[in-house]
C-alpha cells in the first residue's frame, strides 16, 4: 500500500470517528427540522404518505417551508436499518460527511495532477496538498458540526462535489460515463437543499458549456445529457413558480428588509444590500471568531475554522494567486467566490448552513498555505515551526472537542429541542397511569416532537382556554402545560426545564 493511500485511509477513519462518535447523544435531542424530517420519514416508511397524508410527495409541506425530498427518503431507508431514533435521522448526514473527506482528497489531487505532466518537481505538492486538505476537512469544526446533525445541506455538498469531480474526470478521460454520474449527482443536489436550486443549474451550464467547447467528440452526448438535466429540473421549476414553492424565498429574502416603494431607490439599494450580505461571508470575524451567532450552527464562542489556520489561509491565498496551474487556481477561487453568491440573497447573512460549500475551498487554500509556508522554511526552522503548529493545533482541537461534548449540550439545549424530547419521554413514562393525555399548544413545538418520539400515544392538543370536560369527570387526565412560576406541588407531578428564546419556562405535568 502506498504511503499516501495509507494516510488517506487513516484520515477518513479519523473523520468517521469524529462524525459518528455518540451521534445520537451529542447534540442531545433533535432540533425542530430534524424531528420534522424524522416524522415524515417515519410516516412515509409505514404508510407511504407524509404527515399531511400526501402520497410519496416530491416536496414535503412540513412547516410550510416545503422541504426537499432526498434527505427525508434517505432517512426512511436509515429507519429500515436502525429503527426510528435520533441516530437514523442523522446517519446519512454523518455518512456522507465522512465520505466527503475522501472525495475532497480525490478532487484536489485531480486538480493538481494536471500539472504533473508539465512539472515533475511538483510531485510532493501533488501528494501533500490533497492529504492536508482532507485532514483539515476531517477536523474542521464547521464540517463536523453539520455532519453530526440531520442537515440536508451536508448531503447536497457531497453530491455537488461528486458532480464537479466527475465532470473534471470526463474532461480528462473524455468518457461520457463520468458526465452521466456528474449529471445524476447534480440533479440530486437540487432536490436536497434549497441553495442548490440555483447554484446547481448555473454550475451545470458552466460544466456543459466548457465540455462542449473543449471535448469536441462528446458534443452530441453532452447535449443529450443536458436535455436530461433540464427535464429533471422541470418539476422544480414548475413548483417554484407556485405560491408554496416561492414561500421559502419570500420568507428569507434579503430585500424584504428594505422598506421603500420608490423604484429608483430599490434599483440602488437592492444591489447594495446584496453586496453587504455577500461580503459578510468573507469577514474574518465570521470565519474565525463567532460564526453566524446561531447556536445551532456552531459552538458558541468559537469560529468555523481554527484560529491557527488564519495565517496559513492568507499565505495559501497569496500562493494560489501566483499559481500557474490555471485549472487549480480558477476552480478553487471559483468555488471560494461562488459559494456565498446564492446564500447572500437571503437573510440572515452571513449564514453558516447555507454557505457550507465554502468549507471546501477554505480547506484547500489553507492546505496550500501550510504547504507553501513549510516549503519556505528549512532545517531547524521547519522543525520548530512544525512543533509550535502541532502544539497550538492540538490545544485548539482539544478545546473544540471539550466545548462540543462538555459545554454545548448545556449551553445550547434550546437550539436542539432537548427539553421537548425529555417532555415526550416523560409523558410516555407517565402515560400508563392516565386515561387521557392533553398537551397545551402553547408548548410551541410539542406536537411534532410527540408525533416523532411517542407515535403510539393518543394525545389531544388544546389551546390555553381548555378545561377538563364533564364526560372525563371520573377519568385521570395528564395535562402538560407551560408554567412560568413556581411549581404547583398539589397538581404537578413532574416538570421539564425548557429554555426559551425570551423566557425560560417549564413543561409542567398536571394530574387532573
Amino acid at each position: 500500500m502506498k504511503k499516501s493511500s495509507l494516510l488517506i485511509v487513516l484520515i477518513v477513519l479519523l473523520g468517521v470517528v469524529l462524525r459518528f462518535y455518540n451521534l445520537d447523544k451529542a447534540p442531545y435531542g433533535l432540533y425542530i427540522d430534524e424531528v420534522s424530517i424524522g416524522y415524515n420519514a417515519y410516516t412515509i416508511l409505514h404508510t407511504g404518505k407524509d404527515e399531511y397524508g400526501v402520497t410519496y410527495p416530491l416536496f414535503f409541506k412540513a412547516f410550510n417551508d416545503y422541504k426537499e425530498p432526498v434527505y427525508i427518503y434517505m432517512t426512511s431507508a436509515a429507519m429500515v436499518l436502525f429503527g426510528k431514533n435520533d441516530f437514523s435521522v442523522r446517519f446519512f448526514s454523518a455518512f456522507f460527511g465522512s465520505l466527503t473527506i475522501l472525495v475532497v482528497y480525490l478532487f484536489t489531487k485531480l486538480l493538481l495532477e494536471r500539472e504533473e505532466k508539465k512539472q515533475l518537481k511538483n510531485q510532493s505538492q501533488q501528494e501533500l496538498i490533497p492529504l492536508i486538505t482532507a485532514f483539515l476537512l476531517a477536523i474542521s469544526p464547521w464540517h463536523i458540526h453539520f455532519s453530526r446533525g440531520g442537515f440536508e445541506v451536508n448531503v447536497a455538498l457531497f453530491f455537488y462535489l461528486i458532480g464537479i469531480y466527475c465532470a473534471f474526470l470526463c474532461w480528462r478521460k473524455k468518457a461520457s460515463g463520468f458526465l452521466i454520474v456528474s449529471c445524476i449527482s447534480l440533479i440530486i443536489t437540487i432536490y436536497t437543499y434549497h441553495t442548490y436550486k440555483i447554484l446547481t443549474p448555473v454550475t451545470w451550464l458552466i460544466i456543459a458549456g466548457m465540455l462542449f467547447f473543449f471535448v469536441k467528440k462528446l458534443r452530441k452526448k453532452i447535449l443529450i445529457i443536458s436535455g436530461i438535466f433540464i427535464a429533471a429540473c422541470i418539476p422544480l421549476v414548475v413548483f417554484s413558480v407556485t405560491a408554496e414553492g416561492s414561500s421559502r424565498f419570500t420568507q428569507t429574502s434579503a430585500f424584504s428588509e428594505i422598506e421603500t416603494k420608490n423604484p429608483l431607490l430599490k434599483f440602488m439599494l437592492y444591489p447594495m444590500a446584496y453586496l453587504r450580505n455577500y461580503l459578510s461571508f468573507f469577514s474574518p470575524d465570521f470565519l474565525f471568531s463567532y460564526g453566524d451567532h446561531n447556536g445551532r450552527h456552531q459552538i458558541v464562542g468559537m469560529g468555523l475554522l481554527y484560529k491557527w489556520q488564519l495565517p496559513f489561509f492568507v499565505a495559501g491565498f497569496f500562493w494560489l494567486l501566483k499559481q500557474k496551474n490555471k485549472l487549480f487556481k480558477f476552480t478553487v477561487l471559483g468555488l471560494f467566490f461562488a459559494a456565498p453568491l446564492i446564500p447572500a440573497i437571503a437573510v440572515p447573512s452571513p449564514h453558516t448552513l447555507r454557505n457550507l460549500l465554502m468549507v471546501i475551498p477554505l480547506s484547500i487554500i489553507t492546505a496550500a498555505g501550510v504547504y507553501y509556508v513549510f516549503n519556505l522554511l528549512n532545517g531547524y526552522k521547519k522543525l520548530l515551526m512544525l512543533a509550535i503548529l502541532i502544539i497550538i493545533a492540538c490545544i485548539e482541537f482539544g478545546l473544540y472537542l471539550h466545548r462540543y461534548y462538555a459545554h454545548y449540550p448545556n449551553v445550547n439545549a434550546l437550539d436542539w429541542g432537548a427539553g421537548y424530547k425529555a417532555t415526550a419521554d416523560k409523558a410516555f413514562v407517565h402515560s400508563s397511569e392516565f386515561s387521557h393525555i392533553v398537551v397545551d399548544k402553547r408548548l410551541d413545538f410539542a406536537p411534532v416532537y410527540f408525533h416523532f418520539y411517542t407515535p403510539d400515544l393518543q394525545i389531544t392538543f388544546v389551546d390555553s382556554t381548555w378545561r377538563k370536560p364533564e364526560q372525563w369527570k371520573n377519568q385521570k387526565v395528564l395535562f402538560i402545560r407551560p408554567f412560568y412560576g413556581n411549581r404547583n406541588e398539589k397538581q404537578s407531578i413532574d416538570q421539564v426545564y425548557l429554555p426559551g428564546p425570551n423566557q425560560d419556562i417549564f413543561a409542567q405535568f398536571w394530574k387532573l
Binding site: 447594495m272 453586496l275 468573507f282 469577514s283 465570521f286 497569496f318
Partner: protein, 196 residues
C-alpha cells in the same frame, strides 16, 4: 496620467468624507475593545459547565492566558469585519488596501519594506483594541491615516499595472462606494460606534 491622478484625487476625497462621518462618534462599541474583566467573566461562565471534569482538564482549557489571547484575537478579527472596513475606508479604499498588500509582497522590494510595512499595518488596530486612552478623533486618525495612505499606494499600483481595465474597475468601485455609504451610513452609529 491626468486621469490616474484624477481618480486618486476622488478616492482621497471620498475617504476624507467618510472619516469625517466617524468624527460624529464618541467611541467604538464595547465589542471592539478588549476587556480583561470580560475575559474573567467568560472563564467563570465556561467553567460552570465543567462540573464533573478533572480539574487539570478545566485548567488546560479555561485558563487566563488562553482566554485573554482568544478574546484579544476575537476583538482583532472584529476590526477586519468587511462591513466595518467598507464604512471606515470605503469599498474602493478596502480594495486599495488589498491591492497594497498584494503589490508590496509581490514586487521585489527590500525584505524590511516587504515585511515591515504589513506588520506595522497589522499591528495598528491594537491601538483601538487595547483601548489606549486617547481622544477618539485621534484614535480614528491613527487608524485611518496609515491605511488610507496604503490604499492609495495599492490603487496607484493597480492603475499602473492595469491602466485600461484598472480605470474602469476603480471608477466602478468609486460609484459602488458612494452608493454603499448612502445605503448604510446609519450602520456607523447603529453597529460600530456610540453616537456623541
Amino acid at each position: 496620467m491626468i486621469t490616474k491622478k484624477l481618480i486618486i484625487g476622488i478616492v482621497v476625497l471620498l475617504q476624507i468624507y467618510t472619516v469625517t462621518l466617524w468624527m460624529g462618534c464618541r467611541d467604538f462599541i464595547a465589542n471592539m475593545h478588549f476587556s480583561a474583566f470580560d475575559s474573567k467573566l467568560r472563564i467563570g461562565s465556561e467553567t460552570a459547565n465543567d462540573k464533573g471534569y478533572p480539574i487539570h482538564i478545566v485548567r488546560i482549557f479555561h485558563n487566563k492566558l488562553f482566554t485573554i489571547i482568544d478574546d484579544a484575537l476575537n476583538e482583532y478579527l472584529g476590526f477586519w469585519n468587511i462591513h466595518f472596513l467598507s464604512l471606515f475606508f470605503t469599498i474602493v479604499g478596502f480594495f486599495g488596501i488589498l491591492c497594497g498588500f498584494w503589490y508590496l509582497l509581490k514586487n521585489k522590494n527590500s525584505k524590511k519594506l516587504k515585511w515591515g510595512i504589513p506588520l506595522l499595518l497589522l499591528l495598528i488596530p491594537f491601538i483601538d483594541i487595547f483601548n489606549i486612552r486617547l481622544p477618539f478623533w485621534l484614535q480614528v486618525l491613527l487608524l485611518w491615516i496609515p491605511y488610507a495612505a496604503f490604499s492609495i499606494y495599492g490603487i496607484w499600483n493597480f492603475l499602473m499595472y492595469h491602466l485600461k481595465t484598472g480605470l474602469a474597475i476603480t471608477t466602478g468601485l468609486i460609484l459602488v462606494s458612494i452608493l454603499y455609504l448612502f445605503a448604510f451610513q446609519q450602520d456607523i452609529f447603529g453597529l460600530f460606534c456610540y453616537n456623541k
